[in-house]
Symmetry: D3
Subunit: 67 residues, 6 copies
């Protein structure tokens, strides 16, 4: 019954990579807490780099500056 939300920047994650995140997060809840995978929900949000900030600046700017 757990719910997992994964937020990442939108920088080209493939369908296969997103499927791997969903599979892995579900398995983690099974392994650690014995949760039922059938009712475990995983939602991935991909966020534009203009809309994600860390250290007070956008990821767009950080990428430009080689961070």
């Amino acid at each position: 019954m757990p719910y997992v939300n994964i937020k990442i920047t939108r920088e080209g994650a493939t369908t296969e990579q997103k499927a791997a995140l969903i599979k892995g997060a579900t398995q983690l809840l099974v392994d650690v807490l014995g949760k039922n995978p059938a009712t475990t929900v995983v939602v991935i949000d991909e966020v534009d780099t203009d809309n994600w900030g860390i250290g007070g600046e956008t990821v767009t700017l950080r990428r430009k500056n080689g961070k």
Copy 2:
């Protein structure tokens, strides 16, 4: 003053259906808890089927397999 967030897969919900979700969720808070509808906020997130998983697999794959 309540805040309601409804996450659904992006599979063609119409403007009318989304308006009905907003109206219904707001009314629910009024009916059950006597909340003020004027400050009740409802936000609907539509999530790509590649980004939503249940049972460890994406909804895209489940739809293909007729689930």
Copy 3:
């Protein structure tokens, strides 16, 4: 498969009222979008009035001022 999150201030909602919110939100998704109730998840967060603000002030303060 929808996921609904309802945030309300912690001001004495009863177990019965919370059960009614869960039942009503699930039914809303069934009625409007034909979703499967068996995999519809509803999570209620009750938030202290010190931690909820509207109009730039806490709900605690608003309650004191009769708002």
Copy 4:
């Protein structure tokens, strides 16, 4: 280490305005709680006006009615 999520309607916020929200929210956590800006994350979600409701109706409808 704080995490801030800002949800606004998608109504033309510019890259500069979003950068200002990120900078301002980060600074707020530094000023009020002495948090480390380097690990403060801010995520902005822009939501279609069809998907945002207040007072039981969508923002799209409210804009049409001059609210």
Copy 5:
């Protein structure tokens, strides 16, 4: 820089289990997307069984009925 939120029912997860969820979710983002673990944030919310619903009923009630 990813942000992961794991919501589970409050049913006795230990400090060790929660540390394992944090470690595992962080490693998943490293393995699948090559993300930097140093800025990967994981937040676990434990939700009372009265406040979590699935299938239109609370988990409290489901537990009583042996589900």
Copy 6:
């Protein structure tokens, strides 16, 4: 109409500090985007240090190790 969610570790933020976060976040939306403060909602979540991870470990452990 914006909605702001601030998540911080539960480490003794005072009522006054939380009121300052609410006031500051609301003002930020007014200053940057001209939003109406009367319908701007701010919700603060305080999260136990056992339930917050960064760099793959809990904040509890990081505090013990002087980080």
